[in-house]
């Protein structure tokens, strides 16, 4: 008996050590497979990030170390604070509308019969699939100061022309509209996938309890989609804050700098005006804002996941 136990123990040990070896080998293979991506991230993200940090500490001619003087200089500039305000308006405004429109579209598509759903999904994804630089050029032609297609339509209906890109407030609306048009399908597809994973029994139970459509939305759908909403909002916030192409093509930051966002203003200062250190400072300013947003949102997602895991247990 004792001998059998000893043999059993030895086998278990060997099994454990074999299991450990397998796990180590798998981890090694996984690391090797990820290595090209890690190297790519190091070369194209980490190195440029540290290099821009270095650039941000140099003087205008890039000949002398000036520490944080460039940041201190920026904080005293009126235009900088205007760009901060505009970036927040642009990113938050666009993300809110993208999320709302995506949510509504996802519900509409979800309710469609299975047969026609695929075609609608495909059509609604078109804005997100077209390269933004190309689609924004088409929007530019619609807004174009002198020959706006939209104004032509408005004139046909007896309305006065709208200075889409000539008036700062209309221009802000115009850039947000294009960003919403481009980004809403992403939200739609994410929410649609999440909606499909909500168990039908939850809706059935709610129905038995007498819940109406609004109550089902508030007490079943929204809690079940909360994590995906948080993650998509975070992802979109990061991408929208860093947006360059839409603003650059439509307004180049004008009129009177009133549509500049961080990336376009950084380009204006760094590349067009040859003040690379100041441009690097502006682009780095996005990092803490997005970092703080990411911490809050991911913490909420983590807490929610643990709650759900607790409920499941």
């Amino acid at each position: 008996m004792a001998q059998a136990a000893a043999i059993g123990g030895a086998l278990e040990e060997r099994g454990a050590s074999r299991g450990g070896g397998l796990a180590r080998r798998r981890a090694r293979i996984a690391f090797l497979l990820c290595l090209p991506l890690i190297l790519l991230v190091l070369a194209l993200v980490i190195y440029p990030a540290f290099y821009s940090l270095h650039l941000a500490t140099l003087n205008k001619s890039m000949t002398r170390f000036v520490g944080l003087a460039n940041f201190a200089f920026l904080f005293k500039r009126e235009t900088f604070w205007m760009v901060v305000e505009q970036s927040v308006i642009f990113a938050v405004g666009a993300v809110v509308f993208k999320a709302l429109i995506g949510f509504v579209l996802a519900h509409l598509v979800h309710r469609l019969p299975q047969r026609g759903q695929r075609a609608w999904r495909g059509m609604l994804l078109v804005p997100w699939v077209i390269p933004p630089a190309m689609s924004t050029l088409v929007w530019w032609w619609m807004y174009e100061p002198s020959y706006s297609a939209l104004n032509w339509l408005l004139a046909g209906m007896g309305f006065a022309p709208v200075p889409w890109l000539g008036d700062p407030y209309w221009a802000r609306f115009a850039v947000i509209l294009v960003n919403v048009w481009y980004g809403a399908p992403f939200f739609m597809i994410m929410y649609l996938a999440a909606l499909k994973s909500v168990p039908a029994e939850l809706y059935e139970s709610a129905e038995i309890d007498g819940a109406n459509a609004w109550q089902k939305l508030i007490y079943v759908t929204l809690p079940m989609l909360r994590n995906i909403i948080a993650i998509t909002v975070l992802f979109s916030l990061i991408v929208t804050f860093a947006n360059f192409d839409i603003v650059r093509i439509l307004t180049a930051g004008g009129p009177r700098d009133m549509t500049h966002v961080f990336a376009t203003w950084a380009f204006k200062l760094g590349i067009e005006s040859n003040d690379i250190p100041l441009g690097a400072c502006v682009s780095l300013f996005m990092f803490p804002i997005l970092g703080i947003a990411a911490v809050f949102i991911l913490r909420d997602v983590h807490r929610r996941s643990r709650e759900l895991a607790g409920v499941a247990a």
């Binding site: 205008k60 500039r77 009126e78 020959y147 000539g166 221009a171 004008g254 009129p255 204006k268 690379i276």
Partner: protein, 448 residues
């Protein structure tokens, strides 16, 4: 039949013999004995203009036995600007790069001084115009050689018929096709332009002058400021924007802006071209590119377009001029070949061929080159470019001059002048408030 046996020993002996002989004889003189040279030129928008430049370079390379590589880099989408910025950071790339307006000064520390080349070139060609010297010699040394391709004037391109019909201005009587400007040209002043702008606006053909932040807009309003004696920063770096001259220029700009297209504030460098080509406008400030496109797309418009000098202001007739340069990076491994090529491209013969290839668009920076026959011959209408090159009564200018280079560059690229006007016209700022805003911006530009 003899059979050759190649042993390892004999192979090694033979190889070392060849190596020693090679070393003793020095470098073999082959087709490219003088090394390699890589050049990045501005990609000219005029079809065929690049071919002439390539031919001139190839002729030189064959004579000098240089292995020459030429890239044409477009300025659209800031491709050239980004290439310059990337090569400056990487300290690697072409030996020679085309750089426009402010770039030789911006990269002065990274460029090979070309005083030696310019000494010979100036001795042969005579002096450059003052804008070329201001931008190309930012620290007392020539940092780049003036290039013919891309260098341009930005005076008015007017509709002969519309100005005559609606504003009563006979532009051909001032600037005739067969001779120099007549005494009537003295009447071509900013006040005359303002009166004409009002009349053409009323007639439904507003002048197409933009108030945006791109180069065409900045150049036009910059020349107006100079014509009124308004400067933002003087040559010593003092902020002098708060002056009666600035107030007068802004007062005038406010009046003129009332007769411009309603959305002029959103105009870029293409907007004025489209305005003229569409037949909607009676005048724009532009090189002959709008006219050249109209020749193809709207010939009925092109044949009524006349290029002529800018109007005269209280301080003179200031013509906006934008030069291009060829610069040699300090990290270039073949500087002597680079200098030799630039000297070859700076001859009168080369410049004349390049101007002809550009159909008269290019204006070389040397004053003695303003008599090429191309400008008299181009059309229709024949002679439309006769008054396009600088005339003696014009003072060539670039917006933001005479400020020190690093400050002027910021004023120009951040469009401080047009933003001041936009603040008054659209933002409702008073003239004093706009000047105060500009002062604060200028203080920021002083950052070292």
């Amino acid at each position: 039949m003899t059979r050759w046996h190649l042993s390892r020993r004999s192979l090694l002996l033979g190889a070392s013999g060849v190596a020693v002989a090679g070393a003793m004889l020095g470098r073999p003189r082959g087709a490219y004995a003088a090394g390699k040279l890589s050049v990045g030129f501005w990609d000219h928008w005029v079809p065929g203009a690049n071919d002439t430049l390539t031919r001139l370079c190839r002729e030189w390379a064959a004579k000098e036995k240089i292995d020459l590589t030429i890239d044409y880099i477009p300025s659209q989408g800031n491709k050239l600007l980004l290439t310059i910025a990337a090569e400056a950071q990487a300290r690697s790339g072409h030996d020679i790069l085309a750089m426009n307006t402010w770039l030789p000064g911006s990269h002065a520390e990274r460029l090979e001084p070309v005083d030696d080349v310019m000494k010979d070139v100036l001795a042969k060609n005579g002096p450059t115009n003052p804008v070329v010297e201001y931008l190309g010699k930012p620290d007392g040394h020539w940092r780049a050689v003036p290039a013919t391709p891309g260098s341009q004037m930005k005076g008015p391109a007017s509709r002969i018929d519309l100005l005559k019909e609606h504003a009563g201005i006979d532009i051909l009587a001032m600037y005739p096709p067969d001779g120099p400007a007549t005494p009537a040209a003295e009447q071509w002043t900013w006040d005359a332009l303002l009166a004409a702008a009002e009349k053409c606006h009323k007639a439904g053909f507003p002048f197409g002058i933009g108030l945006g932040t791109t180069s065409d807009n900045v150049d036009t309003w910059g020349s107006l400021f100079h014509a009124f004696g308004a400067r933002l920063v003087d040559e010593k770096g003092n902020i002098v924007v708060k002056s009666d001259a600035t107030r007068a220029a802004l007062e005038f700009a406010k009046k003129l802006a009332a007769f411009l297209p309603a959305d002029a504030i959103a105009w870029d460098d293409g907007s004025n071209n489209r305005w003229l080509i569409s037949g909607k406008g009676a005048l724009i400030f532009n090189p002959p590119s709008a006219w050249a496109v109209a020749k193809r797309d709207a010939p009925q418009v092109a044949e009524k377009v006349w290029h002529h000098p800018a109007p005269k202001g209280p301080k003179g007739r200031f013509g906006p001029y934008l030069p291009y340069y060829w610069a040699i990076w300090s990290f270039s491994p073949n500087k002597s070949a680079a200098k030799s090529l630039l000297a070859h491209l700076s001859t009168r013969e080369a410049a004349e061929q390049l101007v002809a290839a550009s159909q008269g668009y290019d204006i070389p920076g040397y004053l003695s080159f303003n008599d090429f026959k191309t400008w008299n011959e181009e059309g229709p209408p024949r002679g439309t470019l006769r008054h396009y090159p600088p005339t003696k009564d014009q003072i060539l200018s670039i917006a933001a001059a005479p400020a020190p280079h690093k400050i002027a560059e910021q004023i120009y690229n951040q469009a401080t002048i047009t933003k001041m006007i936009a603040r008054i016209v659209q933002g409702g700022d008073s003239i004093d408030k706009a000047i105060a805003w500009a002062e604060s911006e200028l203080e920021g530009f002083m950052r070292g």
